[in-house]
Each structure stands twice: as C-alpha cells, then as structure tokens.
C-alpha cells in the first residue's frame, strides 16, 4: 500500500485549489478524520473512494464548514478556511452537494435554483436559472415543488444549485448514486462542460466505472485516513487496495 500523502498530476500540484493538512475530527470514540492529508488541483476532477464509514462525507463536511475540525489546516484557493462558517466558505467559491439530496422542498425547482444565487450571484440569476434548467433538462418540471420530484430529478436539481453558485471548486457526494443512466449522462456531460470552464471537482463515488471515466486522480480513504492516491489504473493495480476497499481481487 502506498503512503498517506497524495500525488497530484504535475501540472496541477504546484498550485492546488484545495490543500488539507493533518486534519483531525473525532466523534466520541470514532476518528472520522485521523490526520487527513490531500490536495485537489486546479481544473482537476479528483475522486474520493473508500468503504462506507471511512470518513469521506465527514471530510466533505469539514472542508465545506458544516462540521468543525478538532485540528488541522484546510487551505482553499489560497485562504485558510478550517473552522470557518459554512456560508463564508461558500462565498469564497466552494459549493457542495449532500449525500442525501438536500432539497428546498416547499420551493419550486426554479426557486431552488434562484435561492442558490440569492447570496452574491444575483446578477443575471434568472437567465442562468433558465440555462441550468435547459442544461439539466429540468424545463418540464420548472414550476413543480422540489419535494414532488423523483429521486433522480432531485439529484439533478441539487447539482443545478451548485452550478448556479458559480463556484471554483465543487464537492459532489455520490451525485449519481441510484439515478437512471439518462440522468447520469446529463450530470457527467455537465461536469465535463464545467471543467472546461476551469471549475475543479472533488467527487465521492462508489461507481468504479464512473470514477474511471471521469476522474483524473483517485484518492482512497479508510478509517479516517488517506491510504493512497493516484491514477485509476495505478489504484486498481494495487491488489491490497482492491481487496480491502473494493472487494474485487484483481
């Protein structure tokens, strides 16, 4: 198994958009983050994989400010953000989705998108909402309440909200889990387009096919630590990783 430090592609490692150093967070006796070290490069799509309970979603919550770290540093776009409130981090240009779609249930689909732009990105928000509805093929349900959407549509809508944020780094927590292949394709196409615009992605995903096709680099977590990272091909060649974390001996 490799060491816990990550290695980014050379073009991105010099100026990462996100750097996490020695991050610790404990819930009772459980070490959800046990000295996490990693980097996400600019314009990179980094995948985060690992078994359930390995601390992936907690790491996202720590980076996004939803959960405060016990200690450690988180540097986003040149600024230290560890312990900062979630809304302040969001205003710096970091957007996230949640593992379970976090809908504004009693608002319409359009209102959900506009709410995402209500703080700081209001200029042209209505036009951008219309573009996003079209991009994600949600036009037909634009006036429906978010709570009345299917599970897949809710995933799309939540993705649409982070698009509306005009963020420089987007954290996606299992954004394609359990969705119809058509919806998955819409999301993947949108990720590719947004990356072309210079947006970086950090993606938690269990679907190895998606990880292989989308991510530039994979970071593997277990028991609150980063255990290895690298290109997908390198990761799958690591038989110990595959057996321990993915359950598929190679």
């Amino acid at each position: 198994m490799n060491t816990a430090t990550t290695s980014s592609p050379p073009s991105q490692s010099s100026d990462p958009i996100l750097t996490v150093r020695d991050l610790f967070r404990q819930f009772g006796g459980i070490k959800a983050a046990d000295g996490v070290n990693l980097e996400v490069g600019r314009c990179e799509i980094a995948g985060l994989i690992g078994p359930n309970g390995s601390g992936k979603s907690t790491l996202f919550s720590l980076v996004a400010g939803t959960v405060k770290p016990d200690s450690g540093q988180i540097r986003f776009d040149g600024r230290e953000i560890a312990g900062m409130n979630a809304h302040r981090i969001a205003r710096l240009g970091l957007a996230r989705t949640f593992q379970i779609p976090a809908m504004f249930d009693n608002m319409t689909v359009t209102e959900n998108l506009l709410a995402a732009a209500a703080q700081g990105h209001w200029h042209g928000a209505k036009d951008r909402a219309a573009e996003t509805l079209s991009l994600l093929k949600l036009d037909q349900v634009a006036q429906n309440r978010a709570s009345d959407l299917s599970g897949g549509q809710q995933k799309l809508l939540e993705f649409g909200r982070v698009v509306m944020r005009q963020a420089s780094l987007i954290l996606l927590d299992e954004v394609t889990a359990g969705v119809h292949p058509n919806i998955r394709k819409i999301i993947l196409d949108a990720i590719a387009r947004l990356r072309e615009r210079g947006i970086s992605f950090f993606i938690i995903e269990h679907d190895m096919e998606m990880v292989r096709n989308v991510c530039d680099r994979i970071i593997v977590m277990d028991a609150g630590r980063v255990v290895t990272s690298g290109a997908f091909e390198d990761i799958v060649r690591d038989s110990e990783v595959m057996q321990t974390y993915l359950g598929r001996p190679q």
Binding site: T66, M103, F104, N106, E111, A118, Q119, S147, R165
Partner: protein, 328 residues
C-alpha cells in the same frame, strides 16, 4: 416567483373594499372590521417567522404588549407624546428585545427558541404585574379618542402595509428566497452562502416589530390595557391557530385565517354572549388542520399544494430538533 398581477389585483380589490366599508356599515360592524384587520395583521406577523422561516414563536404576544405598553407610557403623563410619535419608540424597544432574545437562541437547533420566546412573554407579564410604572395588575389608561373611523383606517393601513411587506420581502425578493431556503434545509442554505443566523434574526425582528405596531394601535383604540390583555398567552395562541387554519407559510392564508376566526368569534359572542364555544372551535381547528389541512385554507386553492412535505412538517421538524440537518 409567482405572478405579480394576481396578487396586485387582489390587493387593489381589498383596498377598494376597505375604503368603502365605513360608508356601508355602522360603527358596530366597523369596530368588528377593525378587530378583524388587527388579527389579520398579527397573524401575518407571526407567519413571517413561523411560516416563512419555520421557527415557531410561542411568545409573539410579548411584542404586541411591548408596542402597547410603550404607546401607553409615552402618551400618558408626564411625557404626553402624540400617538404616531410613540410608534417608532415601540418599534425600537421591540427590536432591541427581539435581538436580545433571538441572537443566542436562533443559532440553536431544536426547541430552545420556542421555549425562550414563551418564557420571555411570561416574564414580561410578571414584570408588568409587579412594576408601578406599568400600573401593575390594574394596567394603564390612555387618553380616549373616540373616533371609530380613525382606528379603522389606521388599522387598515397597518394591515395593508404588513401584507405588502410580506408580499415584497417574502414572495418577491432574494431575501424571501433565503428565508424559505433556510426553512426547508438549513445546512444546504448555509452551503449556498446564506448566513442563516442573520437572516433568521432579521426575520424575527421584522415579525416582532410588526406585532408591536398593532399593539400600539390596539392600546390607543381600546384606551385601557393591562398585562393579561396585551401579554396574555391566548393572544399568541390565536395567532398560531389563525395561521395554521389559513395556511402556514402562505401569503394570503394568515389574513384569511385571522379575519375568518375573528369574525366567527364575534358572531358566537353575539349569539351566545360568551366565548367559551370559540375556544372549543380553536381546539377543533387545530385538530382538523393537522389531520386534514396541513396547507390550510390557502392550500385548497394553491395550484400545486405541497403533498409529500409541507411547511408544517418543516416547522415541526425544527421545533423537535429533528429538522433536515440530521440526515447528513
């Protein structure tokens, strides 16, 4: 965002009816209309925080009473301010109290805010009961001004202004989107860059000062107040039932609930001479709303009423501390 035109047409019709009412009815019915408008405005004030932000305030009567007592004290000897000069003072006193109560408790998840507002109203009642300058249990008298039309138009103006503020701020502005977003999913609203603690506090202060304005008009209108008549818990109870019956988190619901329930209470009083039956109706209304009308009367006419998740669900979740945040 909903259609502006439908709302504006309804508002114009309401304003025309309100303007014509004094020439169509006698002073008795004008007095009932004045009371109905006051309750519609109070229900709208409670709905700002309870309906749009999902935070249940069990002490809204405290702010109604603060407005009433501020006016009563400033209009009495030795200050003798004119009525309209007392309203800004009532607003200032109420805003300060709302900030003191709301700033620490609105940051917390669960029932802390609801308990704090209830306790604040109870504390103010006891304070007014024992202090000399508030007149104790005996209360305070205000200079009488027996002009029913003055109070009708003043109350109408306050009610229409409250409705317009609600329409503009909560239904057609970025602020309203932020408030509704934090009601439906607070962590997600924070992740969208919304400072939820600040937005909640702003909403709470607006809700409180609105109630204070109605308290000020009420005090001058009835010319006598005591702790029970303006701080009493039954005042908040009625606001809550009016909003639930009319439609929690809707624009028109609280006005419908406020006017409807108040008129029913007056009709019962006219027929039977007491209001015990009215209290029974309030209880039945709560049960019926929770069981069959989670979106209230306004929900019956909504184009797409909430089905799977209602505003009532969100408010109940926040009160129980089980809200949306626990899922992630």
């Amino acid at each position: 965002m909903k259609s502006h035109w439908a709302d504006l047409i309804i508002l114009v019709v309401v304003v025309v009816v309100l303007a014509l009412l004094p020439v169509l009815v006698n002073n008795y019915w004008l007095r009932i209309a004045t009371g109905a408008l006051m309750w519609a405005g109070l229900a709208c004030s409670w709905n700002m925080l309870g309906g749009y932000a999902g935070y249940i305030n069990f002490g809204q009567s405290a702010f109604f009473g603060l407005g009433a007592y501020t006016t009563a004290l400033l209009m009495g000897d030795p200050i003798n301010l004119p009525f309209f000069a007392t309203i800004p003072a009532g607003i200032a006193v109420t805003a300060i109290c709302a900030i003191i109560i709301g700033a620490p408790t609105l940051r917390l998840r669960g029932a802390y805010f609801a308990i704090a507002t209830w306790a604040f109203a109870e504390a103010l009642t006891q304070f007014a009961n024992v202090m000399d300058f508030t007149g104790g249990i005996g209360g305070l008298n205000l200079p009488p001004f027996l002009n029913e039309r003055f109070f009708y138009f003043t109350m109408s103006g306050a009610a229409v202004l409250t409705y317009l503020v609600t329409w503009a701020l909560f239904e057609h502005s970025r602020f309203g989107l932020k408030v509704k977003a934090l009601r439906d999913h607070e962590p997600a609203a924070e992740a969208m860059g919304i400072n939820t603690s600040l937005v909640k506090l702003q909403t709470f202060v607006l809700s409180a000062v609105t109630a204070a304005v109605f308290g000020a008009i009420f005090a001058y209108w009835v010319t006598f107040i005591n702790p029970k008549s303006v701080f009493g818990g039954d005042i908040t109870d009625q606001m809550v039932v009016m909003v639930l019956l009319g439609g929690l988190g809707s624009l028109r619901g609280p006005a419908i609930g406020g006017i409807g329930l108040f008129v029913v209470s007056r009709l019962i009083w006219m027929r039977w001479g007491d209001t015990a039956f009215y209290i029974a109706i309030l209880g039945a209304a709560i049960v019926l709303v929770v069981l069959f009308l989670p979106n209230g009367i306004a929900g019956l006419f909504a184009r797409r009423p909430a089905k799977s998740v209602t505003v009532l669900d969100k408010a109940a979740g926040k009160l129980a501390g089980t809200g949306e945040g626990g899922r992630n």
